[in-house]
Symmetry: C2
Subunit: 272 residues, 2 copies
Amino acid sequence: MSAAILIDGQPPLEEARALHASERGFHYGDGVFETALVRDERVRFLDDHLSRLAHGCKSLNIQAPRRAVLQADIARLSTGCAMGILKIIVSRGAGTRGYRPDAHAGEPTRFVAMYPALPRAPARPIRLRWCETRLSRNARLAGIKHLNRLEQVLAQAEWRDDRIAEGLMLDTEGELVSGTASNIFLLRDGMLATPDLRFCGVQGVMRAQVIRAAAGLGIAVVEEPLWPHDLEQASEVFVTNAVRGIRPVQALGNLRWSETTVACRLKKVLEC
Amino acid sequence: MSAAILIDGQPPLEEARALHASERGFHYGDGVFETALVRDERVRFLDDHLSRLAHGCKSLNIQAPRRAVLQADIARLSTGCAMGILKIIVSRGAGTRGYRPDAHAGEPTRFVAMYPALPRAPARPIRLRWCETRLSRNARLAGIKHLNRLEQVLAQAEWRDDRIAEGLMLDTEGELVSGTASNIFLLRDGMLATPDLRFCGVQGVMRAQVIRAAAGLGIAVVEEPLWPHDLEQASEVFVTNAVRGIRPVQALGNLRWSETTVACRLKKVLEC
């Protein structure tokens, strides 16, 4: 699966020789990223993605590229794209040896790529599993979509069964956080609940859209600490991701759900 | 500060175009690294570094390069090097989009670089500070020198005062773990104590050498949970790092130490 790529606004001469040897994204995971859905040449929720990217850069004290510059890159790769997956990485760029960011360092690296996406399959309810890999807690990094993603890599390496669409992750204290690449919502007593992500997890773009859309439908959403046993009391469960949209869940271990009403209403509102 | 670099055994044509655009080290921090001291064309504690690298690869299920292959790269860069800093990175290499390691993916990336090192300054006792950035706990990743190093980057960004040589880091529960780029030892009642690193931190090569050398000198070493208040009871404190060796500590906040006897004995034994 090859991608169209721009690095600092230029296509690399060769994909195999694209990044600087001293790239701090490579040496330390020193950066942030976004993954977005492109449909009919338009990036879904682009404003949300660019805002989160800017927020993440600010949190890591990386100079964020100007929005217009990113938009120009994105426009160039989106032209003629009926369906695609856009990835943006902003890292601190090439630096000298050592963890400390160099005050006199060069520009951050701006990586923008468009990957081909298959047309979306019909939204059948999916099956989940529990991952053994835990998410570590650190309020300083919570919510940010940074490049330190070994926990997600190890979690996704735990299974190969295509019938399992996503794995749920607990943090090291056993609290429910998210899927490996999605946020999770439970319906209980007519209200939606989702983990508050105060210690870990990513503040998903689709998660924020769902919270807004639910309010519009008159459905209350609470962001709070959740635990595995909360799933047992849920009448409906769904996971969210900017590329895959809202996916109702039918099974997790011995648990089964047949209800998908709220997920379907939100899917309709958000066209995802 | 430029470096001599080999990527998969070949010097890149340009430093600015060295790594694959789909490099998983860049996208996810999916790999491990080593930093070692080179003196008179020889890598200090090379066996320890290569063993830790292999152990880290195994833990992440990355295929480690053969030792002879790494040694050939290292020999090529060490020739004629009176004093240098060797960095080795092994990442999972270029992959397809998504966290899951591709079972049919290509070879891991083998990055070996030699950086110029200034002659070592005389070993004056150093001053430390406390870092506000905390280390997250995750036993699954504890001890491994992996590429997810945002916490260390943020911690080192906290100060610019050259008189402070190192910052100490606590984990998110307040336990003492290490310096940003060093392990720490305290002397109490004639015994050395060092954090056990069961939840986070890096199993330092120099740390292991110190534990071995102390045993040879008849000094007991305990690896155990330590807390900031343990520093108040210490009669001597030093930090260790494979490149910088053993550094006695003279001050941390309001705490002062004048004793350096054990550090100096260990420095002599380990010639560091």
